[in-house]
């Protein structure tokens, strides 16, 4: 799988359209859900996802280590999310549920609560939790993407989970 990906990335670097297509096919949805988890808006996530791929393909030649493609594209995605936060400083992320309301399968009350709790977390924790559980990335990979020590990833995860447990309990008690 990894080798396959490296071949794909190599072909994309040479401008192979088919390789681009294969990469988009492989990463599009996972990056979309990650962006959604981070910014909390379905439409913004689609845009961020687009911007990420466009930026990736336009600068794919700057990627030295082909095996790090996943981390590399995730780093672009996180940067795009940060750009979005910078541009929308005054907009508190409260439209998560509303915006994604139509995206959530019916009857998943718990999913809505989880999304609500996730969107209430600090940006730092939200990014780490999303990368970790939406993409199953290792602590090391997350540390590389965010360019922070592994220990910081751990503490952000642990704080985020703690906060979410409290929030979920609160939702449960308030019915």
């Amino acid at each position: 799988m990894e080798v396959e990906e490296e071949i794909m990335v190599e072909a994309a670097k040479k401008g192979d359209k088919k390789a681009f297509e294969a990469i988009v096919k492989k990463y599009h949805n996972v990056l979309y859900y990650t962006a959604l988890g981070i910014v909390g808006s379905g439409w913004e996530a689609l845009d961020i996802c687009q911007e990420t791929f466009i930026k990736a393909f336009n600068s794919i030649n700057s990627l030295k280590d082909k095996s790090k493609f996943r981390s590399w594209i995730n780093r672009i995605l996180v940067n795009k999310c940060n750009d979005y936060f910078r541009k929308n400083k005054n907009e508190v992320c409260v439209d998560f549920i509303e915006e994604t309301g139509g995206f959530i399968e019916e009857g998943s009350e718990e999913s809505i609560d989880l999304l609500r709790a996730l969107s209430s977390l600090k940006e730092n924790s939200r990014v780490v939790l999303t990368l970790r559980y939406f993409q199953d990335l290792s602590l090391k990979e997350i540390a590389a993407i965010l360019d922070i020590p592994e220990g910081t990833v751990k503490s952000r995860l642990s704080n985020g989970l703690e906060e979410m447990r409290k929030l979920m309990k609160g939702y449960k008690n308030s019915g």
């Binding site: 949805n29 139509g102 995206f103 959530i104 399968e105 999913s111 751990k154 642990s158």
Partner: protein, 300 residues
């Protein structure tokens, strides 16, 4: 290993990323520590939920497909704005549907087949639809009102034409003659209306003699004995008010029944504001080619 150590490693424990020795140490502690056990259970459930979360977030495949296509198309170009694109489509469809059907009633239903419910475009469309329908109702109401006003104007125009024709001078007064029954000789009509006006003028002068001259014997007696309501105003005081101006508003009706003639005249004497405008109903008899007033009654 104490509780704090366990807390620090809990996440990796749940994700199965610890080496065997550390894993076993943690397991041993958690099994024997109720507070760590609770935290473990809760955190495990939470992580499980988060891992499944992305599966429960659904977006229509065709939107994702479209986004993918746009990415490939725009790799070397400016990014494609999905939100604006869908708003654009929506606006386009709106115009087309409007042109075809003159109504957007069917539209949001149509659109929601292509994009998920609850997304901004559909909400906007539903708003547009509601606003459109409200505006439509308002416009129809205004149209109805306009038609009504137009109709009223036409009627008033006709009425004015009618009135212009029937304003005439009787005994020095310009009086609107509202309605005259057919079958009344125009000369007779002129006479009786003239009598009525002379009678009213005499009434307001307090000239009982002139009034009596115009009446038959029976009504003459009533006037002489002050037994007629026309001699009293609304509050019961005597009506002989010298120099009181009276306005002849209009001759409401002139009618005929056998030898009895009726003349209804509207007056305004401005004495009592609330009852300034009133009507006197005259009954006249034609005896031997001569008219005599047989009764005068007050009407609001």
């Amino acid at each position: 290993m104490n509780c704090n150590d366990v807390k620090g490693l809990m996440e990796e424990y749940i994700m199965g990323e610890l080496d065997v020795n550390t894993f076993n140490e943690l397991k041993k502690h958690i099994d024997g520590c109720s507070s760590c056990k609770t935290e473990y259970d809760e955190t495990k459930k939470l992580i499980g939920g988060l891992k499944k979360l992305k599966e429960s977030i659904k977006i229509k495949d065709d939107i994702l497909e479209l986004n993918k296509k746009n990415i490939l198309k725009n790799t070397k170009e400016k990014k494609f704005n999905m939100k604006r694109f869908f708003s654009g489509i929506a606006a386009g469809m709106f115009v087309i549907m409007f042109l075809f059907t003159g109504s957007i009633v069917a539209f949001p239903t149509f659109a929601s087949n292509y994009v998920p419910e609850g997304i901004p475009v559909i909400r906007q469309l539903k708003e547009i639809q509601n606003n459109y329908n409200e505006a439509k109702v308002e416009i129809e109401e205004i149209k109805r009102e306009n038609d009504y006003i137009k109709q009223q104007n036409e009627e008033m125009k006709l009425e004015n034409e009618e009135l212009k024709r029937t304003i005439k001078e009787i005994e020095g007064e310009n009086i609107t003659e509202y309605q005259t029954s057919e079958g009344i000789d125009p000369a007779d009509n002129q006479i009786i209306q003239g009598m009525v006006i002379r009678f009213v003028k005499a009434l307001y002068r307090g000239d009982i003699e002139t009034m009596k001259e115009m009446c038959n014997d029976e009504f003459k007696g009533k006037i002489a004995n002050e037994r007629t309501e026309i001699l009293f105003s609304n509050d019961g005081s005597y009506v002989y008010l010298n120099d009181t101006n009276v306005i002849f508003t209009q001759i409401t009706n002139v009618a005929k029944e056998g030898d009895v003639y009726y003349v209804f005249v509207r007056l305004n004497d401005g004495i009592y504001e609330d009852a300034a405008d009133y009507q006197l109903n005259f009954e006249l008899e034609k005896i031997n080619g001569e008219f005599l007033i047989s009764f005068v009654g007050k009407d609001a």
